[in-house]
């Protein structure tokens, strides 16, 4: 590794000029400073894993892997099982994606392929502003506007029309799994949209032109030539959204109803890993309670790291230029 790219002579006949000596010192100090900063990231992440692990050691010793399948959460009896939390986290995130993915892909495709040019930037801009709204503001809006609306209009409608399904039966509470999923959908949509848009913009024009030249309609060009080319990037965008939805805390905490229970009905309250930490951590009284909550944080961390790694891998395959969609499946 070259510490300095200055063309200093290997064996100078005379001492190098003072300015160059100073410059080399400067280079060394500069590199040292930058290296220290760059080292901070691996150090912090190492610390994070170590702290989460030692913090939850008590719970790991006592419950082991049975923690993720146990379903009682009773701080008084010191019995902790995270199954309802993991279930709630996964279900709310998946439901959110079911709502957000068609919408955000529709918007992304519309903006890259169909929208008049003057409309593209403003709409993308407005939707990216949605990403800037703090989670707690979504939560506030959710409590006082979205939940009453869902409770009065949408949930009864769903129960009347789709009530034969077990997901849409039972008493209607305001705060519920479905309410949390709807707010999550609104929150992850901008992320999926903006990554999908970038991926679609990277599709070469020759793909479009080839499909259109063969007589495809513009929609057929999208389904036959453009989306397949960008497929793995789009999947990456969706998984990235999944990662966001899994870790989202405030809005979900405020809307999901916070009940440790696995219910079939989406109208019933539920709980997520992030929400239980937010609610109980500062009020935890016993060491084992802290350890159990830290264990939950560790599980959540591992899940999001895996999900994000999968997303990065897929996006990376596209940006490398491989038309992975054609060969992948």
């Amino acid at each position: 590794m070259a510490t300095s790219s200055l063309p200093t002579p290997e064996a100078p006949a005379t001492a190098p000029p003072a300015s160059l000596v100073g410059a080399q010192h400067g280079d060394r100090v500069f590199r040292l400073l930058l290296t220290t900063a760059a080292l901070a990231i691996p150090l912090l992440m190492g610390f994070l894993v170590y702290e989460l692990y030692t913090g939850s050691a008590l719970a790991i010793d006592r419950y082991g892997l049975g923690f993720v399948t146990g379903s009682t959460w009773d701080p008084v009896a010191e019995e902790f099982g995270a199954a309802p939390l993991i279930f709630g986290t996964l279900l709310s995130a998946v439901l959110a994606l079911l709502i957000a993915v068609p919408l955000s892909l529709g918007v992304a495709i519309f903006l890259t392929e169909f929208a008049p040019r003057w409309l593209r930037q403003p709409v993308a801009f407005v939707i990216e502003l949605l990403a800037a709204i703090p989670s707690v503001v979504y939560g506030l809006w959710g409590i006082f506007v979205l939940v009453p609306l869902l409770k009065k209009v949408v949930f009864p409608f769903l129960r009347d029309t789709l009530g034969f399904l077990p997901f849409f039966q039972g008493p209607i509470y305001g705060p519920s799994m479905l309410a949390a999923s709807v707010i999550l959908a609104i929150m992850v949509m901008p992320f999926i949209m903006s990554v999908a848009r970038e991926v679609l913009l990277a599709v070469p024009n020759s793909q479009r032109e080839a499909a259109l030249a063969l007589g495809a309609t513009r929609w057929e060009a999208v389904t036959s030539a453009i989306v397949p080319y960008a497929r793995s990037g789009i999947i990456g965008a969706v998984i990235l959204g999944l990662g966001r939805a899994l870790g989202e805390t405030m809005a979900v905490t405020m809307l999901i109803g916070n009940r440790h229970e696995i219910a079939a009905s989406l109208f019933a309250p539920g709980y997520t890993m992030a929400a239980v930490i937010a609610n109980e951590f500062s009020g935890a009284g016993t060491d084992i309670h802290f350890a159990a909550l830290t264990y939950v944080a560790l599980v959540l961390f591992v899940i999001t790291v895996l999900v994000n790694a999968a997303a990065r891998l897929l996006i990376w395959r596209v940006s490398r230029g491989a038309p992975a969609g054609g060969t992948g499946l």
Binding site: M1, S4, S5, L6, A23, G26, F30, R31, L34, T35, T36, A37, A38, L39, A40, I41, P42, L44, F47, E51, L52, T54, G55, L103, G106, V107, F110, F125, I127, L129, L130, A132, I133, P134, S135, V136, V137, Y138, L140, F144, T217, R218, E220, G243, G247, T249, M250, M254, A274, I277, A278, F281, S282, T294, L300, T304, V305, V307, N308, A309
Partner: protein, 281 residues
């Protein structure tokens, strides 16, 4: 013939559906902003910005404590997070091939995907549990940890956009490497780095989860970084889930203040980038 008509109709129908999707996607933003103004603006007054909260049941309090708290906590986070993030980003761009750069880049992505509540737990075990009390400083550290990966990636990407010829020219003129990096390369990328930093500040200013058990929140105006401190997002949360009608009013008004801060920061940042990119073609 029929088949051709059907295909064209289908294509147009799909475009129609996409327009519906756009409307559905834009609607929440309009809805949220309208509600915020409608429900929050009424409670805004001079007192709201200049007074501390009053006990529940009385009227006329303000959120000065939270405004000051957010400024201090986010300011502290920026002081820690921005230099580290920018310097690490410069390192990753300038020493691209080194093993440390690769590890840092990868781990920054992991860090970026880490839920903010997990970062809060980490800050708690690292700082609060050791000090045995909540503090604004712990909150700043948690927020800084969220800023670092964001700032790192934008800095790195922008520095890579700087043409190599600029660097070569500076080196050929006898500039030492560090002055080439700082005076030529980083300086060229500076507007973009400022934009990225502003966006990062805007994003963490709205974060609640990492502050829940670090800065904790408080009902009093405080300037001590070593004690619990209020912040705008924490105040919105407390007021929103509280039982009193006046609290809900305050929650809306505080949220309006918070969102104005965040939107102004991110609008400024985005407009700056847009102008820059269109200017460069």
């Amino acid at each position: 013939m029929n088949r051709r008509v059907f295909r064209r109709v289908k294509s147009n129908a799909m475009v129609g559906l996409m327009v519906v999707a756009v409307v559905l996607a834009v609607l929440p933003l309009l809805f949220i902003l309208l509600n915020l103004v409608a429900k929050g603006a009424g409670s805004l007054s001079v007192a709201f910005f200049t007074r501390e909260p009053v006990p529940a049941g009385e009227t006329g309090g303000g959120v000065l404590h939270a405004i000051v708290g957010t400024l201090l906590i986010v300011g502290g986070a920026s002081l820690i997070g921005l230099p580290v993030g920018i310097a690490a980003g410069v390192y990753c761009a300038e020493y691209t091939g080194s093993r440390l750069a690769k590890a840092t880049r990868f781990l920054a992505d992991v860090m970026n995907g880490t839920p903010s509540i997990v970062v809060g737990v980490f800050a708690w075990t690292l700082i609060v549990a050791r000090q045995k009390h909540f503090s604004a400083l712990a909150g700043s550290c948690a927020l800084a940890m969220l800023m670092i990966p964001m700032v790192l990636r934008t800095t790195e990407e922008l520095i890579r956009l700087v043409p190599n010829s600029l660097r070569e020219a500076a080196l050929a003129l006898g500039y030492p490497r560090w002055r080439t990096s700082l005076g030529v390369v980083v300086r060229t990328a500076l507007p973009g780095i400022v934009t990225g930093s502003l966006l990062a500040v805007a994003r963490v200013a709205g974060e609640t989860a990492p502050l829940l058990f670090t800065a904790l929140g408080s009902q009093y105006l405080s300037y001590r970084l070593n004690e619990p401190m209020a912040a705008l997002p924490l105040t919105v949360y407390t007021y929103a889930i509280g039982p009193y009608e006046e609290w809900h009013q305050y929650a809306w008004a505080t949220a309006l203040v918070l969102i104005l801060v965040v939107l102004v920061l991110s609008l400024a940042a985005r407009l700056a980038t847009r102008r820059r990119f269109t200017a460069n073609g």
